[in-house]
């Protein structure tokens, strides 16, 4: 269901709770289609919660939130299919291998689907790795599998929670190139990362979170800022 809009994401004073703990304490954010936004902040600032809320997994109890044209306070479930979330957990079935996982998650008829082969070659996974149970793969290799899935699904909004973590240099380059290419084809990307130097070469904008809200918003990578030292 394609909805034309200029803003991919718009939050105003969004609040979300987990029990009695406020995950988000009033987020204000607007992201346009095609932007690549770096989400920065200390641990516990609310980056993961924000990404999950944008994916429609966490409910916003106060304020407003609109993602890809969907009002998430009304129709949280509808947006999920159009959003690609890369979380801390891999969302993979460990007892199946990479190919079977992709076939399942893409709802493919069988494992010989072309999208699967193409996705794996794009992320640099080949040969035996494709038929090994995921439980036997390293963190970096699992990350590549989830990236392959992300690539194959080709959704309009990517929400990546520390996509570079645990990857070697070539892995990080793969992530970067995936992000850049996606952005060129119109995908909006929001990614959380601790690795500022590297992340900034990719992002067009940097946003700082703290205490469950956005505290700084900078376009076109400005250097440093004391905020990063906390």
């Amino acid at each position: 269901m394609g909805r034309a809009m200029a803003e991919a994401i718009k939050l105003r004073d969004a609040v979300a709770f987990s029990g009695s703990f406020p995950l988000l304490s009033g987020v204000n954010l607007a992201v346009e289609v095609g932007e690549i936004v770096l989400l920065n902040g200390a641990n516990g600032a609310g980056k993961t919660s924000l990404l999950r809320a944008l994916a429609g997994l966490v409910s916003i109890t106060q304020g407003s939130i609109s993602v890809l044209g969907y009002d998430l306070t009304q129709e949280r479930r509808s947006v999920r299919r159009e959003v690609g979330l890369l979380g801390h957990q891999s969302f993979l079935y460990e007892d199946l291998d990479a190919t079977e996982n992709l076939a399942f998650w893409l709802k493919a008829e069988d494992t010989r689907d072309d999208r699967i082969a193409e996705a794996f070659s794009r992320v640099g996974l080949t040969g035996r790795l494709l038929v090994t149970p995921v439980s036997k793969l390293s963190t970096g290799q699992r990350r590549r599998v989830t990236l392959a899935l992300l690539y194959a699904r080709n959704q309009r909004l990517w929400l990546l929670d520390e996509p570079h973590a645990g990857l070697d240099t070539s892995g990080r380059e793969t992530v970067d190139s995936l992000i850049l290419n996606a952005s060129h084809s119109g995908t909006t990307v929001v990614f959380a990362s601790h690795e500022l130097d590297h992340a900034r070469t990719v992002a067009t904008r940097s946003v700082l979170m703290s205490g469950g809200a956005i505290t700084a918003d900078v376009k076109d990578q400005i250097e440093g800022g004391a905020a990063n030292d906390s």
Binding site: V15, F17, S18, G19, S20, F21, P22, S25, G26, L208, S210, G211, G212, A213, T215, A227, S230
Partner: protein, 249 residues
């Protein structure tokens, strides 16, 4: 909030009058049941349990019925309110208490007739299963979690349990009826000829126990409401703290 010895609010007044009338009813039932009404031809003084056991069972069933309705009310989007969840929980707690008492009095009552403490009488067996079912429900309610989450979970668990009750009853009834051995005193019917003062006392018993149930549920419910209020203040202050956390960076 509540000055000792003074009823402040309407709720306090209702609670107080419920408690009083329940007390009066119970005292009257006990007095009538123990002293005024006659002993039974066959059972002797044991028949006096008729003023306690059926009312206890009746209240247990109301309690679970209430739990079911309150759970439905919570799940229904238009009437969703945590207070229904409180009511459901309070009713179930009182219900479990009364169910336990039903089992004990039923067992005591049946012993002289049956010769044993337990014979799988259909009603009593169903009650025993109800007891365990709702113990499980209460255990589920105690799992510490987000209030709304806990309420949703409990409500659905209540539905699953309640829908099972008629199925359990029929299953046990058929199961038992296949083995009905003829006995002089049919243990599945505690029927004695009820007349005159016994009938009135029995009715009084039902009323008194129902009032007691209502009183206990109200107390438990208000306790729960206080907990919820405390939690709400906790939540708003947590929100403020979190926001301050942001501005101190």
């Amino acid at each position: 909030m509540h000055r000792f010895g003074q009823a402040h609010s309407r709720a306090d007044q209702i609670q107080r009058s419920l408690g009083l009338s329940a007390l009066v009813g119970m005292v009257a039932t006990i007095w009538l049941g123990l002293f005024i009404t006659p002993p039974d031809q066959f059972m002797g003084d044991l028949v006096r349990l008729i003023y306690i056991h059926p009312p206890l069972a009746w209240v247990a069933f109301i309690a679970y019925g209430m739990n079911f309705l309150a759970s439905l009310a919570y799940l229904w989007p238009r009437t969703r309110d945590l207070r229904w969840d409180q009511l459901a929980g309070a009713s179930a707690e009182v219900g479990v208490l009364f169910t336990g008492l039903t089992l004990v009095t039923g067992s005591i009552w049946g012993r002289p007739a049956w010769g044993t403490w337990w014979t799988w009488d259909p009603l009593l067996t169903t009650t025993a299963l109800l007891f365990v079912l709702y113990l499980g429900y209460l255990a589920l309610r105690r799992v510490p979690d987000d209030q709304e989450l806990r309420a949703r979970r409990s409500a659905i668990a209540a539905l699953i349990a309640f829908i099972d009750v008629p199925i359990v009853y029929f299953a046990v009834l058929w199961w038992k009826s296949l083995h009905q051995a003829p006995t002089v005193l049919n243990p599945t019917t505690h029927k004695t000829y009820i007349h005159g003062s016994m009938a009135w006392t029995l009715l009084l018993g039902f009323v008194a126990f129902t009032l007691t149930y209502a009183w206990m549920v109200m107390i438990r419910y208000r306790l729960g409401a206080i907990e919820t209020r405390a939690l709400k203040t906790q939540i708003s202050s947590a929100l403020r703290d979190r926001q301050l956390e942001g501005s101190h960076e």
